[in-house]
Subunit: 246 residues, 2 copies
């Protein structure tokens, strides 16, 4: 049986400070936990309700995983979600390993602040087959529960590396770097090759000037109506769709 | 000076039931309130902090609007937002008027549930110049504060009509109706004209079968990677981009 201290420990991991001290994070909800169990992440403990275990009996057997069973109301107390009555896993964070493009497209994120946006961008990257994201040090933390949630399991297939983006881009030829900018060239006119880097700026300030100076080409999504801008995740999807549609 | 009862009245409009009884809704935050003041919506009262009025002095003079000044902490109590220290307006809801396409594209929303998604879709529609959205009666309420917030002012330029979507589509020739579906034809292969209807389904169930039977063509966004699906708002943007890029 789970103890009060164990519940408290899980709850303490709702905080970034504790996650970073412990090198651990939480994965919550059916979709995310099932994708996690199929991934190469190291799962410390998986807590689940009896009904989750019944619903996924064959899969858990196949993967040789026996979740620690907890009542639904206890799981809810441990979870950051309002209605998590399925599963929650305690998982080891991965090392922050350098990522470079190898004949592929890589996303660069410049100070993205909203966790929902980061999670959604990871899901979009995964949809379009992007496996690597490089984020500025000020970008929202990958292991924020809202990021993991919004990624809908795609955090298991897309690696994120945090670093100083200006230094990082110094090692890349300018012509390979594209940036999303409202005053860039129309993305419909551009010819894209099979590799490159696409920089997405922060929600409020776009891509910073120092980075823009490193960019070979700024691109925009042509606007037909009245909205001033698109949400950062939405813009990422439309740009990637244009890059990959060929 | 604002009274306790006025504050309570504004707070009561955080609830859908009260909004519908009163035929009123709230618009919050700088961007949304400024766009509202430029629109044809009938504003009952505009509450704002002194600093909002100073920052927007010329505009308020030009529009001949004198907000009722409230302290920042009082505005925050009235607002559904955690940190609204700028403005909040009490606005008359519009009548639910029938919308039909007139040589234009119209979005149809089948039971979309998430207010953030609806607001983001309104912003996307506005970006691509779509002026009309028709939503099933079970779709989340347009005047939900989270919808208004996520629309970033675009609710002033895009009209939303709620009705029975099956009945509505009965009056439209099938060949004009497209639906987003994971097993549809590639959107890259399709030729789109200058008018039509695009149906977006609910986050969990997609477009319902009864509606799908009315559709001339189901379309999908080709997937290259591992994610099972895209978020409903993200998919809407990518499909509209393909429709309008010509």
């Amino acid at each position: 049986m789970i103890t009060k201290n164990q519940i408290k420990y899980i709850q303490s991991l709702h905080q970034k400070k504790v996650r970073q001290q412990e090198g651990l994070f939480l994965v919550e909800g059916t979709k995310n936990v099932l994708e996690l169990l199929h991934s190469d992440f190291s799962v410390k403990v998986c807590y689940a309700t009896e009904s989750f275990c019944i619903d996924n009996e064959k899969l858990l057997q196949k993967l040789q995983i026996s979740p620690e069973i907890v009542p639904a109301d206890v799981l809810e107390r441990m979870s950051t979600l309002a209605n998590n009555h399925t599963a929650l896993a305690l998982v080891q964070a991965k090392e922050n390993l350098v990522l470079h493009a190898q004949n592929e497209w890589v996303l660069l994120l410049d100070n993205l602040q909203d966790p929902g946006n980061l999670g959604t961008i990871i899901r979009i990257a995964d949809w379009y087959g992007i496996k690597k994201i490089v984020a500025s040090a000020q970008t929202v933390e990958l292991y924020n529960p809202k990021v993991i949630m919004a990624s809908m399991g795609s955090f298991t297939r897309v690696a994120v590396y945090y670093c100083d983006l200006s230094e990082y881009t110094n090692t890349i030829p300018n012509k390979k770097i594209y940036a999303a900018a409202l005053n860039g060239a129309s993305v419909y006119e551009e010819k894209f090759g099979g590799e490159g880097y696409l920089i997405i700026g922060s929600e409020s300030h776009g891509v910073n000037d120092k980075l823009l100076a490193r960019v070979g080409c700024s691109i925009r999504i042509p606007r037909r109506g009245g909205a001033e801008s698109l949400n950062a995740a939405v813009a990422t999807a439309v740009l990637l769709d244009n890059i990959f549609r060929g």
